[in-house]
Each structure stands twice: as structure tokens, then as C-alpha cells.
């Protein structure tokens, strides 16, 4: 589905939870090189910005929208080759897109994971390192029980209406765990910032109904980091780290539930109670 097509459909399907997993469209999968990831069917990768919105303009003529699209293509290739999972890009070329439209593509694709790719900027040229953001809980999100779906009106049997602003609420812990998995998977190969795992009220994550993170690959305002991000070696390493993180996250999500789990998920703890909707097919 092209981004423009998905955008046109967004008003019709936004917020609708069709708990009809067996009606998912079977994607045309690429050849599987590695073992198939049984618990994952679709991952949506979102190259940030695009069109007139160039994002950060860094040292050495690097532009965020171009770097994000390049990295997204590498991640798509790596995931499809290693995991045999369908990967959908929210944009395949240099075009402008609204933030909610990107999450709508993930929802309409019945994605199991949503990863938005960006490059960072700072007024301090010394700022350096990758950072991974998940949505910060606001007052409404904090009031919702972890892992619980935010019950909305039922339109028809099996079809539930979820307010857009609360779509990510039941996934906050899983999203934080995915962010931690990326930081862990990239350790040793990726340069991270002082506090690489963060939370913020990021609009592109609000409407996503699956574990969702925003990855800042590095600071383009840092000349050394901009040069590093322009190399095939580093961007390929970054793509590999994201694939490893997806595998780590999948394996932990399917691990047995331990009742003594801490309030906030950590890389070493299960992230959701049994019965909660997540990566299960």
C-alpha cells in the first residue's frame, strides 16, 4: 500500500481494532535466509521527515531525511533477509508525510512493531551518540493498567473503537522494552549518547497500536558523527543492531511470564502478562 493510499484510508480505520488476526493479508515474503521469526509478521519502518521537511541539516551536507531513508532501506533489506518478516516503509521516496499518517500506515498494515528512524541535532556541536525514544506516559496513560487495552465502545462483535490519543497507552511498557533492546543490541558497535534510552511525548508514536520507538541514529550537528553516519560500514552496523534488537525483543516477549516482574520492563524481565495482545500471531 502506498503512503498516499494509506493516508486516504486513515480516517476510516484510525483507531479501529479489528481483533481478527486470521484475516490478515498474507504478504509476499522474500526468500528466507535465516530462521523465520514466527512471532513477527510485519514490521513498519518509518524514515523520518521527507519532502520540504528536510529535518536536520548537518555537517558535510548531510540531510536527515536522506539519511533516514537510506538507513530504513538497509534495515528493511536486513530484516527481510535474516528474519523473513514483511517490512513496510512509510515512504519509499522523498515525500512529505504527516506524523499521524505514518502511525496509521503501521496500524493499517497490522504491524507488530513500529520503528521511526531519525537523525538528531543539537545547538552544541559536541552532542554525540544515538538515542532511542519511547512515548512518555502522560496523566491518562499512567492511569491505565500496564498491558491492558484501553477499552472503548464496541462497534460490532470483534471490532472495538480506540481513541487515537490512547492507542499507544497499552503498549508503553513493551515500547520501553524495545528501546532497551536496541540499546543493548547496539552496545559495542553503535555510539550511544549519555542517556540512550529516553521517553518523550512524540507525536509519531501516539497513534501506533503496537510497540513503537523512535531511533535517533546520531547527531548530524557533530561533524565526526555526521561523517560516521555517511559511511556504509556504520549504517550497515546500525541496521544489523536493529535486526538483533528485534530478535531480542521477540524472544523476550515470548518468554514465560513471571509474576514478580518489576513495574517497568527491563531487558532481563518479561514485558507483559499472559493474555495481553502483543506479538502473538
Amino acid at each position: 500500500m502506498s503512503p498516499s493510499r494509506a493516508f486516504a484510508l486513515a480516517p476510516l480505520v484510525v483507531g479501529l481494532v479489528a481483533s481478527l488476526a486470521d484475516q490478515r493479508v498474507t504478504p509476499a515474503l522474500p526468500p528466507v535466509v535465516g530462521p523465520p521469526a514466527d512471532d513477527l509478521r510485519t514490521i513498519v519502518i518509518d524514515p523520518g521527515h521527507g519532502g520540504e521537511d528536510a529535518g536536520v541539516r548537518g555537517a558535510g551536507d548531510t540531510v536527515e531525511k536522506t539519511l533516514a531513508l537510506d538507513l530504513a532501506r538497509r534495515v528493511k533489506t536486513a530484516i527481510e533477509a535474516r528474519l523473513g518478516v514483511r517490512v513496510v516503509l512509510t515512504r519509499e521516496d522523498d515525500r512529505a508525510m504527516g506524523l499521524d499518517a505514518r502511525a496509521a500506515i503501521a496500524n493499517n498494515s497490522h504491524a507488530d512493531l513500529f520503528i521511526s528512524l531519525h537523525a538528531n541535532g543539537s545547538v552544541r556541536p559536541a552532542a554525540v551518540g544515538a538515542e532511542i525514544y519511547s512515548l512518555s506516559p502522560d496523566g491518562r496513560a499512567a492511569a491505565a493498567p500496564p498491558g491492558a487495552a484501553d477499552a472503548g465502545p464496541v462497534l460490532a462483535p470483534g471490532v472495538e473503537l480506540v481513541p487515537w490519543e490512547r492507542a499507544q497507552t497499552p503498549r508503553l511498557l513493551e515500547s520501553a522494552a524495545l528501546a532497551a533492546a536496541i540499546a543493548e543490541a547496539g552496545r559495542g558497535t553503535i555510539t550511544f549518547g549519555v542517556n540512550p534510552v529516553r521517553q518523550a511525548p512524540l507525536r509519531v508514536l501516539v497513534g501506533a497500536m503496537m510497540p513503537a520507538v523512535l531511533v535517533e541514529a546520531g547527531y548530524l550537528t557533530n561533524a565526526d558523527e555526521a561523517a560516521r553516519l555517511a559511511t556504509d560500514e556504520y549504517t550497515n552496523a546500525f541496521a544489523r543492531a536493529l535486526v538483533d534488537a528485534v530478535v531480542r525483543f521477540r524472544d523476550r516477549a515470548s518468554a514465560p511470564y513471571a509474576p514478580a516482574a518489576p513495574a517497568m520492563a527491563t531487558p532481563s524481565s518479561p514485558i507483559r502478562p499472559p493474555g495481553a495482545r502483543g506479538l502473538d500471531p
Binding site: G98, H118, R124, R203, E216
Partner: protein
């Protein structure tokens, strides 16, 4: 004219004078606006109607970029004393938007203007910024996060009555300032971003 008629005419004249006097007083109050102890409305509190500042000054915490560029640092600065809470809020935001004193570095795009500032009865501040905050923003999630929360923290830290801040750009609610941070929601101060 009999004596009784004269008295009646005099009484009628007194009543008429009293009615006219009361009417004039009410009309004067109407044009002067609500009394100071009346419940303020957001519209009545618009910064353009605010009284002129006094000569006094207060010490307020203004937020700038940390040395690592990933956090905020709070710096005490003197800002003009506002005659009303609204006027004080406006003065604090103006100080936050002003160029940073050396060696500090501002996280607000240069030349960002304050179009208006409102306070509501439920502790919400509405800050309407000029379009420069979007058009001149250099981008980046962390950068945008610091831009937004420098303003939110400046109000939330210095004015305890302000419990939430809503940002507008050019008079309109916007999705974000630079493509990341959701500013359509009311934001509360975040001290974890401050070193």
C-alpha cells in the same frame, strides 16, 4: 402650582437624578472592565490588555542548553516584576525567548517572538509563539524537546500556579514544532531534563 405639586415635582426630579447617576456609574464600570477581584477569563487576561510593568524585578530560573547538548541547565536571571500573574508569565517567557547571556546557549530559535500569553482559571498557561519557532528550528528530537521544555519549565518552575502549558504557533495549535514533540497536548514541567 400648588405647594403639593411643587413637592411632587421636586421628588420626581431627585429620583430622576439618582437614576441617571447610577446609570452613568454602571456605564463607566462597563467600559473600565471587570473589577480586579472578579474571576478572570482567558480572553480578559490577554497579554495585549495587561497593565504596564512596574520597575521592580524578580529572580527567575531560565533554561539553556547543557554542555553536552542533551539537557537543560537552570540559570537564575532577573526579570521585570509583573503587576499580575499574567504579566509575570509574559515577562518570564520573554526572558526565556531572549538571547542567552554568555557563556550560555539558548535552545530557542533566534528571533522567536511571543504573540500572546494567556492564563486560565485551572492553572493552564497558553503560550502563542511566532512562526519563527518552527521556520528557524534546526530540528532533531532532542533539540526540539529542549526547546519545548525550556518554555514549559520556565513557567512551571517560576510560577507554581501554572500546572500545565499549551503551546500555539502563530495563533494555531500545531502537531509539533519541528516534527517530533507532540505540542497539541498540555505539557507539564520535566525536571528530569535539567542537569
Amino acid at each position: 402650582m400648588t405647594r403639593r405639586t411643587a413637592v411632587a415635582v421636586a421628588l420626581l426630579a431627585l429620583v430622576a437624578a439618582a437614576v441617571v447617576t447610577i446609570g452613568l456609574l454602571r456605564l463607566t464600570r462597563f467600559f473600565e472592565g471587570p473589577e480586579s477581584d472578579a474571576a478572570p477569563t482567558a480572553e480578559a487576561l490577554a497579554s495585549s490588555d495587561a497593565p504596564a510593568p512596574t520597575e521592580g524585578r524578580i529572580t527567575a530560573q531560565i533554561f539553556y542548553a547543557s554542555a553536552d547538548g542533551e539537557h537543560l541547565v537552570a540559570v537564575e536571571r532577573e526579570v521585570p516584576l509583573g503587576a499580575t500573574p499574567l504579566e509575570q508569565a509574559r515577562r518570564i517567557v520573554e526572558a526565556q525567548l531572549a538571547p542567552a547571556p554568555a557563556p550560555q546557549l539558548s535552545v530557542i530559535p533566534p528571533a522567536t517572538t511571543l504573540r500572546a500569553c494567556f492564563l486560565t482559571d485551572n492553572g493552564r498557561a497558553i503560550v502563542d509563539l511566532g512562526p519563527e519557532v518552527r521556520t528557524a528550528h534546526p530540528g532533531g528530537t532532542t533539540n526540539e524537546l529542549l526547546t519545548v521544555y525550556a518554555i514549559v519549565n520556565a513557567l512551571g518552575v517560576n510560577l507554581p500556579a501554572v500546572t500545565g502549558v499549551q503551546l500555539l504557533v502563530d495563533g494555531e495549535p500545531v502537531e509539533s514544532v519541528a516534527g517530533h514533540v507532540d505540542v497539541r497536548r498540555v505539557l507539564r514541567k520535566r525536571l528530569d531534563l535539567v542537569q
